[in-house]
């Protein structure tokens, strides 16, 4: 692919061939408003919002369908263009209910944004509005409000071209047009919530997120979905130390623009069934226990006194936690048997995103040479069992019983409540991925960093930190004072991760939109 130089609003930019003007303009920080165009769905051209002036063409041209070629000269903010944008907005608002105050899209609505940029007129429409269907139960996760719809057909194209399930259609003509479902069908595919994310207005809303929080109060952090081994790039939207939703974050190499519904709704595990306080084997928690540090000393003594130690690790832990846990098991606990593995049954796999392996970091375990079969380690029994991660022992009651009988004492580092271990084991709360910085390695070996979104609650700390504390409680010079130090040691041992963990851009830069490359050149304003 060659590159071409074009001129937008008097400024020159050199971009890759094959881009359209909307994409090219982004390199100059020029936003061309649009509804129907979406990088993941391609050009449709129906919304007419992106029309721009092109030198040598009498009519305004849609920027989405205008592909860069050498010498192309485009103007995006001429009076003619601005007047046209105002017209399109006026048309879109004619039959729009303008119910922003009760609309979940408020604050992230293209109509609102564009109205402020290009509209700002008084309505000239004094006739009755056309009424359409509202609060339509479109599917298990989605509600449709046909009156708010701008008929950009993004959702229709998503279901046609991405999931290839084709549940949605536009029916009727003219201003009677509306989005609807095929008779007897529901918007019930494993990716249905993407339609909500790509809907530029409030026509499709998520049943889960509906009426739960105003988007302008949400803060965002870049993270990685933990639902399966794909490692989809996400944004965690949170407020008041509570996660409210995941949104897909574009990463063309991993998940494109999409996220599956199961993954999207897995944000709930950040909030629910969390282990917040340190619990001793008697079942006493922090309430009756004098001090956290004292408990750690107790744990340290337990480890020192153990004659044989087995360590089990979960592929839900981050690369950093896994590394710290394995070093701890070897160097501090002197563990004889060590394995990372999973007893969780496989999930559903499809061609789009979902992977059968339901753990985000199986590849990480493998690279760190920790992957193994858990059962022989458990069968062998011993004095002390160290469990790193909360999901290891949750799937098999018989196994659970066996563990209790074959090990004298058990120490579990868990982010979530441990069923069956309410008593008889040390439960030490650890942070989950939303509460700390870290990284996962996805199924294809791609190491992806994630950022802390929300504050840690109760006694929770990242696993690598709490292990350091235990080490220090045992009077050992062990552990790291910061994540950078841990990553340095980790990459010294596993240099293949050096680039991803040390040299790469921070995680909030990984999801760069598309394959765009471009260079800005100074031009006259």
């Amino acid at each position: 692919m060659g590159s071409v130089t074009i001129e937008i609003d008097g400024r020159q930019v050199t971009v890759e061939e094959g881009l359209n003007v909307i994409q090219a303009a982004q390199f100059l920080d020029i936003q061309i408003p649009h509804f129907c165009y979406h990088e993941g769905l391609g050009v449709d051209g129906n919304c007419r919002m992106c029309l721009v002036e092109v030198e040598g063409m009498p009519k305004l041209q849609p920027a989405c369908n205008l592909f860069v070629k050498e010498g192309l000269k485009v103007r995006t903010r001429t009076p003619q263009v601005m007047e046209h944008r105002r017209l399109v907005l006026e048309c879109l608002f004619l039959n729009h209910p303008i119910d922003c105050s009760i609309c979940d899209q408020s604050g992230e609505c293209y109509l609102q944004d564009y109205y402020l940029d290009h509209g700002n007129y008084r309505s000239r429409y004094d006739l009755p509005k056309r009424l359409k269907r509202k609060r339509v139960d479109a599917g298990p996760h989605v509600i449709l409000d046909a009156e708010r719809c701008v008929l950009c057909a993004r959702c229709v194209r998503f279901c046609d071209n991405i999931t290839k399930t084709g549940e949605l259609r536009i029916v009727n003509r003219g201003d009677r047009s509306e989005i609807t479902l095929f008779p007897g069908k529901k918007l019930d595919n494993p990716y249905s919530l993407n339609t909500v994310q790509i809907c530029p207005v409030g026509a499709l809303t998520s049943k889960d997120f509906r009426f739960s929080w105003r988007v302008w109060f949400l803060k965002s952090a870049h993270s990685i979905c933990t639902g399966c081994s794909r490692g989809c790039n996400i944004i965690i939207d949170h407020a008041d130390n509570h996660a409210y939703r995941y949104q897909a974050r574009c990463n063309p190499q991993v998940n494109g623009y999409w996220l599956c519904d199961d993954g999207r709704l897995s944000y709930k595990m950040i909030n629910d069934h969390r282990l917040h306080v340190l619990t001793e084997p008697s079942g006493n928690s922090r309430d009756t226990f004098p001090r956290f540090e004292e408990a750690l000393s107790g744990i340290g003594r337990q480890i020192e006194g153990a004659s044989s130690v087995t360590a089990l690790m979960s592929p839900d832990l981050s690369n950093e936690d896994l590394y710290a846990a394995s070093r701890f098991a070897k160097e501090i606990a002197g563990s004889q048997r060590m394995a990372a593995g999973s007893l969780k049954p496989d999930g559903v796999e499809d061609e789009l995103l979902r992977k059968a392996d339901a753990h985000p970091n199986t590849s990480g375990c493998k690279t760190l040479n920790l992957w193994g079969d858990l059962k022989p380690a458990i069968d062998a029994g011993g004095d002390l069992l160290l469990v790193f991660g909360s999901d290891l022992l949750q799937y098999d009651n018989a196994l659970l019983k066996k563990i209790r009988s074959s090990f004298k004492s058990i120490i579990i580092f868990a982010s979530h409540e441990m069923k069956g271990f309410e008593t008889g084991a040390w439960l030490i709360p650890i942070a989950c991925h939303a509460e700390m910085d870290g990284s996962f390695t996805n199924f294809e070996g791609r190491v992806q960093k994630f950022d802390a979104a929300i504050r840690r609650r109760g006694d929770t700390l990242p696993l690598w930190r709490i292990l350091g504390k235990i080490g220090r409680a045992m009077q050992r010079e062990w552990g790291w004072s910061d994540l950078a130090g841990l990553r340095r040691d980790l990459t010294d041992e596993f240099p293949q991760w050096k680039e991803a963990l040390i040299e790469a851009t921070p995680s909030n830069k990984t999801g760069v939109p598309l394959k765009m490359t471009g260079t800005k050149e100074a031009g006259e304003e």
Partner: protein, 433 residues
């Protein structure tokens, strides 16, 4: 001047059957074409200067030459028989009276361009015409003019008759293509043009029934003979549909460039009941209206009508007499466009409906002068901003009606009633479903 090229068999008994068509020299041009190199046929069509009769008037030969010669995809012809422009009924006459002439034209076109499959997209409401077309296609197959090896040199051609389901927009070439593919009939964005990416993403020629029906004559009599008819830039004859307040409405075949006055008065018998002419819509409902004065001085060819501020379009005159309310006429027209807008592009989807609602308000006697300004403003702004030209088609009548008959709109607004008709029909004008 009256000259029967396409309509020569109209009125002949059983003119739609193969034996009658052949008895009158039918399918000779096809044989002649098979004896020529396809490129030579294309050059002949180019030299005839025939322009598309569907409305846009695009030179036919040029359109064919955009289709890539060597490509490893199949090429298609879509015959646009979805005649839906209000006032236009010329293709209906061809399909009804002489479908074989069009089929022969299709064969010539496909030979010239190298097409092996043609779709005839026929308007759903054309029941009788579709029956005759179906039987004509069957006859042609039986006679070996269609199917395998029709020129005994390995040339195959199949025709599929595809019935529309009642959408004006499917007469727009890309809307037609979508509909042929079995999709919702709504236009596609251009580029890419159908000549490169059309039906099933393959190169496609879209031609009107009348244009194709002229081909046998052109091949038989030579391009020069055809180019000599009509005017310099508008060659040949044209089927003119004339309707409205006229003594003898119908289809007349006259040379291009004939004065509108000749058509109206000499052929169609003048305005009905001896009334005076008020206005003429010259090329189908979407073309700008002409006042009586303009109509009496204009010639019927592409250039003259363009100079007069209108368009030849599909060559369908709608004659409006002095006792007709122009507000009412425009309301009917805009109801049509609001009804037929496919709903893709906001300016057209909302604009046509808004114009219709404003007109109903004025027609009810509740309009204001501001409404009239709004109407004009919408009409001035929606055209040229959408995927297809339906917004232009809706805007042009509104612009021209208001410009040329503003006094009637203002009178409606000021007096609150109509001097030509009582308001009892107004309710029927409202409500687009």
């Amino acid at each position: 001047m009256e000259r029967k090229i396409i309509s020569k068999n109209f009125g002949v008994e059983d003119s739609w059957t193969l034996p009658v068509y052949e008895a009158n020299g039918g399918y000779a041009a096809m044989r002649k074409a098979f004896g020529m190199d396809p490129q030579a046929v294309l050059e002949e069509v180019k030299a005839s200067k025939i322009r598309g009769r569907g409305g846009a008037g695009f030179p036919m030969g040029l359109k064919w030459s955009f289709v890539p010669r060597d490509i490893d995809k199949p090429k298609y012809l879509c015959v646009n028989a979805d005649e839906g422009e209000p006032g236009t009924f010329k293709d209906r006459h061809i399909l009804e009276n002489d479908p074989h002439m069009m089929i022969e034209g299709i064969i010539i076109c496909c030979w010239a361009v190298g097409i092996r499959k043609a779709f005839i997209y026929i308007r759903g409401e054309f029941h009788k015409q579709c029956d005759r077309l179906d039987s004509a296609v069957r006859e042609a197959y039986e006679k070996g003019y269609l199917g395998r090896n029709i020129n005994s040199d390995g040339f195959d051609l199949d025709i599929v008759v595809h019935r529309g389901a009642g959408a004006y927009i499917c007469g727009e070439e890309t809307g037609l293509i979508e509909s042929v593919e079995g999709k919702r009939g709504q236009p596609r964005m251009k580029p890419p043009f159908p000549a490169l990416i059309g039906v099933f993403d393959c190169p496609t020629v879209v031609n009107n029934v009348e244009t194709l029906a002229a081909l046998p004559w052109i091949l038989q009599n030579g391009a020069a003979a055809y180019a000599a008819i009509g005017t310099e830039k508008s060659s040949g004859t044209k089927l003119w549909s004339i309707s409205g307040h006229v003594e003898r409405p119908g289809v007349y075949e006259l040379d291009m460039g004939v004065p509108l006055r000749v058509l109206l008065e000499e052929h169609a018998g003048g305005v009905r009941n001896g009334k005076k002419l008020k206005a003429v819509i010259p090329g189908g409902s979407s073309t700008p209206v002409l006042t009586a004065e303009e109509a009496y001085t204009v010639n019927l060819d592409y250039e003259s009508l363009e100079k007069a501020g209108s368009m030849l379009g599909s060559g369908a005159m709608i004659i409006i007499d002095e006792e007709t309310c122009m507000v009412w006429v425009l309301t009917i027209l805009e109801k049509f466009y609001a009804h037929e807008s496919c709903g893709q592009c906001p300016p057209c989807r909302e604009g046509t409906a808004w114009m219709h609602r404003l007109l109903c308000k004025i027609e009810r006697g509740e309009g204001t002068l501001e409404d009239l300004d709004k109407l004009e403003d919408i009409a001035n702004n929606i055209g040229g901003k959408t995927i297809c030209v339906l917004s232009d088609a809706a805007a042009m009548p509104a612009q021209s009606f208001i410009k040329k008959f503003r006094h009637e709109f203002e009178e409606h607004i000021k007096t609150g009633h109509c001097r030509f008709r009582d308001n009892k029909w107004t309710a029927a004008l409202e409500g687009v479903h």
